[in-house]
Symmetry: C2
Subunit: 565 residues, 2 copies
Amino acid sequence: MQEGVASEACSLAGTLGLGNLVVLYDNNKIQIDGPTSLAFNEDVKKRFEAYGWEVHEVENGDTDFRSIHDSIDQAKDHGRQEGINKPQFISVRTTIGYGSKVAGQNKAHGTPLGDAEIVRMKEQWGFDPNKKFYMPDQVEKYYQRTAHQRSQEVRKAWNDLFTRYSKQFPSEFKELNDHFLPIKPASGSPIPTFIGQPPTLPSGLLDRLPHYKQEDKAEATRKSSETVFTALSKELPTIIGGAADVLGSTLATVKGSPYIKAGDYTGRNIAFGVREHAMFAIANGIAAFNPSLIPYVSTFLVFAPYGLGAIRIAAISHLRVIYVLTHDSIGVGEDGPTHQPIETLTQLRSLPNINVIRPADGNETTGAYFAAVDGFAHPTALALSRQALPQLPGSKAINVKKGAYVIFDTASPKEGETIDGQVEQEQKWSKILTIISTGSEVHLSIAAAQLLSKSDAQLRVRVVSAPCLELFREQPAEYRSQVLGTQSGPHRQPSLILSVEAGDTISWYEFAHVTMGIDTFGVSAPDKEVYKHFGFTPEGIAEKAKKALKVFEGANVADLVKLRI
Amino acid sequence: MQEGVASEACSLAGTLGLGNLVVLYDNNKIQIDGPTSLAFNEDVKKRFEAYGWEVHEVENGDTDFRSIHDSIDQAKDHGRQEGINKPQFISVRTTIGYGSKVAGQNKAHGTPLGDAEIVRMKEQWGFDPNKKFYMPDQVEKYYQRTAHQRSQEVRKAWNDLFTRYSKQFPSEFKELNDHFLPIKPASGSPIPTFIGQPPTLPSGLLDRLPHYKQEDKAEATRKSSETVFTALSKELPTIIGGAADVLGSTLATVKGSPYIKAGDYTGRNIAFGVREHAMFAIANGIAAFNPSLIPYVSTFLVFAPYGLGAIRIAAISHLRVIYVLTHDSIGVGEDGPTHQPIETLTQLRSLPNINVIRPADGNETTGAYFAAVDGFAHPTALALSRQALPQLPGSKAINVKKGAYVIFDTASPKEGETIDGQVEQEQKWSKILTIISTGSEVHLSIAAAQLLSKSDAQLRVRVVSAPCLELFREQPAEYRSQVLGTQSGPHRQPSLILSVEAGDTISWYEFAHVTMGIDTFGVSAPDKEVYKHFGFTPEGIAEKAKKALKVFEGANVADLVKLRI
């Protein structure tokens, strides 16, 4: 009732007229630190009516169970009536810890009652005081008689209906089976089940998504995202979602489908309003309701922290939510530091069980979406650029799943040739530098590698594109070692590794000996100016690389693959 | 109007009866993605009345300036009337982009009008279309006649009052000068100024705060925090704040002072309710209003992300806010993963311009608070334990300011003796291990060091307590090198460094060759069981250390101090 996320969600529920929603409010006037009046003096009924809800009140929730029951029935009836479209709110006045010695007190919230008081209360309510964790027979019988019987009737009616449906609408029934959790009509299995893995993705899906060639025009990955997402949302009708009032910037929408609105829920788009936290929480609800559904939600990367609590819940609950987060760096224009995420990638990466993917061009954007829908048991955050990025010659959608791969090498080895391959034997490089980079900094790193190579014939420079550090960590040590260049060559030490990302450096020490990033807040200027200011130009990166090579000349570099022992 | 943080703050403003608050709502029915009706169908007047506000409405905010003016006057009058105590809300119906060709459209929000349209609009409103960035004389004259003159009168009246006050109440006047920004009565400087640094802390403050001896009883740092905070809040009357309904757990309160409530604002405690985001945002407002004020706000560490947007604003705006964040790890008991922060320390550390301090015992808690109040130009997050921790023999409050320091050494060097000192020459250690740890894991690391030392006479183990990585980074390279043991000794390689913290490892690769942490979500069990499960026991840490020593035996270890080049 006090948390902002509830206000956001309830306001939207009112706007969308969610008549199937019935909320019971345990109005006991107590919170952990004391009476709610210390911090909460609202007219709750009026507030929910202002949101467009219908409000019911139960005066005595301690003992008048009939009124609670009737209110729920009434709420369900009203909410489902044609044309009303109002979510239903039932405020039930109760006493916290009713019947115990701490009744009506805030300590009833968390303090254990103690054994003696539990015995006394069991006696008071007619339970056997000597039994613990047991259910009286009469309770079981009651539920057998009511809930169990009723559910069997409801289940039978549903199964009958569904069997008729499967015969009358065979193609629609097939579509349901193709895209939703295995659903079996009554003749097969006793009950339709929503437990288990959702159906596998349509075969050949990745091939049918957009792929880019080097000569295709440069575009922002948010723009590539629009193209890829449009293709994907045609392939997967279970994709639904929307934006927190920045759709014109994030560009992620199910084209051709209307917005969901009060009384018409056929659309696949939701206008969440400026409500990031509720947006992320609603996405959790959609994914949890049925794991076949694929909710996506979009805003600027810098605003992801406004709903971080809900992102944590998605990760901890293994929910397949896709966060489309654009304006992912300092390339956002004159909005300045408030709109330039510095720490946000690290904040998301630090969360267990989420993949954070920052694609470098169109192909990697395709790979990022494919990894997101294919990753059933976790959320995925996509970090996308506002500014245009060139299509990179070495980029491959399928490589995103490996987390990181060599995208450029001044030694130009042939396909599949590794750092220890023939090329190196012939050319006798004395130094190798590996630049590991993501997103909008990969093409700059490649240009820097070319500059460096020209200025020092003994130096071989490799560029690793690392769209997803979490997926890279999951690769075998051998692959990681190959990508990072941690083996020594015949004439040289292992590769020195420099990370290049226009954000804070904290998440990079695991993968690089030297980091290039931004550990202060941003600045306000056109994007090219800001990039220049922080040294993220081919020349700036090359300069940093030269400095790193000099500092580490002849020094030992650690084998970073060993770090996670 | 849609963001949850506004709901939280406005609800609290109503409860606290903030009659001095007047909010103007630019009710133009348009948001970035289209008409607000897509996502927002509230009866705003009713909602604010439900919060306990008085609501005024202006029908035509486009041209009826008199009504806006009168509403503001009326709101100010009503809000200040004795006994009303209602914040004032003025809903002004306007047309976005009024008078332009995009009037009433969402593109008026962000799309530039273009030169031709700007010229046309200037002509339409009677401005010289050829002038840019200029202010007509008549505007300046108007403000000279009104605002400027009025402010001079108000200022003179204030100065006169203040001069009389300084004479009539000399000791109260002195107190104001001691604890607030330099305030000069009318006779000295023309105006009292709130610009500049707040007064320096009372001399000898750190000495007067609680200090602990090894024989003092073990206690949770949240408990030490209660003691230290109580002492500090007596010394510094400008400390004000409160908790998000978990005061019984965070224990941070100004003892002896009441809660602020409607009509009585003499208290220094605020019951924020379950409203983390607004709590952090209100703290920002207090710090920004007058930098002499020191707002503190408390909740569980795992809930800090609920208000991360406001923490970011504190950091970017250089506000001295203190976040008292308890239950800082897996030692929180049966609440389980939802209440066990894993990623949260890294999420805070990744933010520029904030100090994150995790003290290991009572002395470090004193040092943490001292660093927090002494750090004028940035916020500080304190991460405090729920479980009891022993008072450590080598801990020192003043060392917190260095960020990290050697707290234990199996070679027991004398005070001030470094890793390259006499001790090492005599004893000829062949291996050195440095365990760098924070908070509740420091005493476990010391016990592990003792175990390791017993099992291998050639091995010297040092333990570094690192309460604040940000402050450590600011130290000279020589000090950091000394603490981390990065120099080689006469008979050995540089120290291998192992980090030990019961949270995600991402922030540790910068400071350690091998990390021990938790990169999954937590588990639900009593705290000692959870610690054991994740290996955070003296035996578990020793085992990890042995493994690390074996993996890196004879291998190169990087000089980590070189990383930030």
